[in-house]
Amino acid sequence: MTDTPLSLAEADSTLFARLRRWWSGETATPVKRVQFDRPLTPWMFLLPQLAVVAIFFYWPSVQAVTSSFYLEDPFGFGATFVGLDNYTEALTSRGYMSTAAFTAFFCVVVTALSLGLGLLLAVKADKVIRGAETYKTLLISVYAIAPPVAGLIGMMFFDMHMGPFTQIAAWFGHDLRVGIDYWDTATALIVISVWKQIPYNFIFFLSGLQSVPVSVREAALIDAKSGWRRFCDITLPLLAPTAFFLLVINITYTMFDTFPIIDVIVKDKPANNPMTLVYKVYLDGFKGNDIGGSSAQSVILMVVVALLTVLQFRFLERRVHYG
């Protein structure tokens, strides 16, 4: 059941493309029509992809929606239909609401920081001509690290006894206790998540920057003396499509793909730790054995993310100039 939110994240890239097409009213008109002798042949080609989507995306979704209306026996002996009880319970519980609040906070901070730092590094890298390759490789290589490993590396940095970050904090007179203190844990989560996501944003921003025509930059050089003005008036608007794409991707990342990082940091730790909604779905469902409640939560999550994505397209993409 818990693979629902995870597979949602995986399916996100196709979702993104589909939504965008749907929103801009494009239809996929084939340039060239291929005629098949048998009407079944094209379906045969489509079958593997359709099967993957159905098995890993639609089926779990349907399962999640169904079981969210049931109260499941903790030992798996049966389920009772309880209507919307699971939903009302989730939405009125204090734990759920505080996790939701933290998720929103986490989402905003991580997205803002990883986009901001990614852009900053890309702008700097774009200026460097010599050594740019090494610089790029070094930055990008972080992206090759799997999230759980990133979590572990982060964990080492924040280790209570020998983590360098803990020591640095100690110099400033702060006793950093990741996994125990709520905000210390939150800080660690944010730092690791941002660090993990920067390379992704960096790659896209860098290629976005490099696709700004040289002559346009030169024209701006003649028109405006201040580099900051040129950046705000010319570079940034031309990067807007990239930034919009990254915004959508980053929000999904913070909501779903940070799961392994959170898992490494808060697993087997005292209960009062910050976590995102996705992690709570997993915790309540698997650790708490509350399949019904957890399903209701994941359905709520699906709806929220869908709404969020639609809103972004509706209000932001309008203002984005596709060059």
Binding site: P213, S215, V216, E218, A219, A220, L221, I222, D223, A224, K225, S226, R229, D233, I234, P237, L238, A240, H321, G323
Partner: protein
Amino acid sequence: MAHLSLTNVGKTYGGSAQPAVADVNIEIRDGEFIVLVGPSGCGKSTLLRMVAGLETITEGEIRIGERLVNKLDPAERDIAMVFQNYALYPHMSVRDNMAYGLKNRGERKAVIEERVAEAARMLELRPYLDRKPRALSGGQRQRVAMGRAIVRQPSAFLFDEPLSNLDAKLRVSMRMEIRKLQKRLGTTSLYVTHDQLEAMTLADRLVVLNGGRVEQIGAPLEVYRAPASTFVASFIGAPAMSLLDAHVENGQVMLEGHALAPVAHAAGPVTLGLRAEDLRLTSGGVPMRVDHVEELGAQRIVHGTVGDQALAIIDTSEALLPETVHLGVAPSRVHLFDARTGRRIETATQPVAVPAE
């Protein structure tokens, strides 16, 4: 508006031993239209971009007006540039494209509006002021780029092959527009092209570059009538001047053993330059075997060989051509170049008529 002076200007790109531009000295008068012309890779763009500030100056000095600009940012040089691919800001309307530079200089709103309106009127861009560049045709974009330059009222306009992305017909009409506009505004202009026809028609003075060095500076007709070297001779004028191995004997230029015209020059080998339009078909004279004929309607270009050297003549008669024709040329239209260095040899029989400036 200002004069422009380039003193011993040179440029060597980092990592290359050969200078891309070397020893360029040009004094450009206020309001003059200078065209930099030369084959691909000869350093025209490099030189222009050094004036613009887009390329560092590794040697020499550039002054705009009285100001030494070597170390100034492009935005401080009081120049405007028109790029080959227009370089319009794709996310800004035509109006904003033109106004952007002025806004950054802190011009008053009223002034900006007035100048944009004036430029739009001059360039017939008024219907498009609110459009984005991508909704314009190539010619319209080019005009917006011109407008963006005009509104700044700079000391100098810099053009880097501004017409080479347009089709042939539009190129001719835009060429005339640019010339008219520049005359009206009286702004000093530096214009880069590799199209010698464009160079001839636009320039007050031509600067012919070869391998980063100046071959010749002069009014178009001056360069045409008295090319300083075989390089200039073959570059300016279409069809290209025929360059042939010849020698002087007894005060006569001898081409493959036939006397062509009298010249006042010591005996010895020379490179003989003959323009197709200066050659005439005569009954006697140097025999040429006709190879093929290009019919252009008003005239025809006859390609042939004297001995084994290729030659072209423009012929306006419509007579049927025999297999072998005979050529003649007025002695004043014979160009001689040093057989070794390729430099022009001035001879007394070649009075160069240069129109008064």
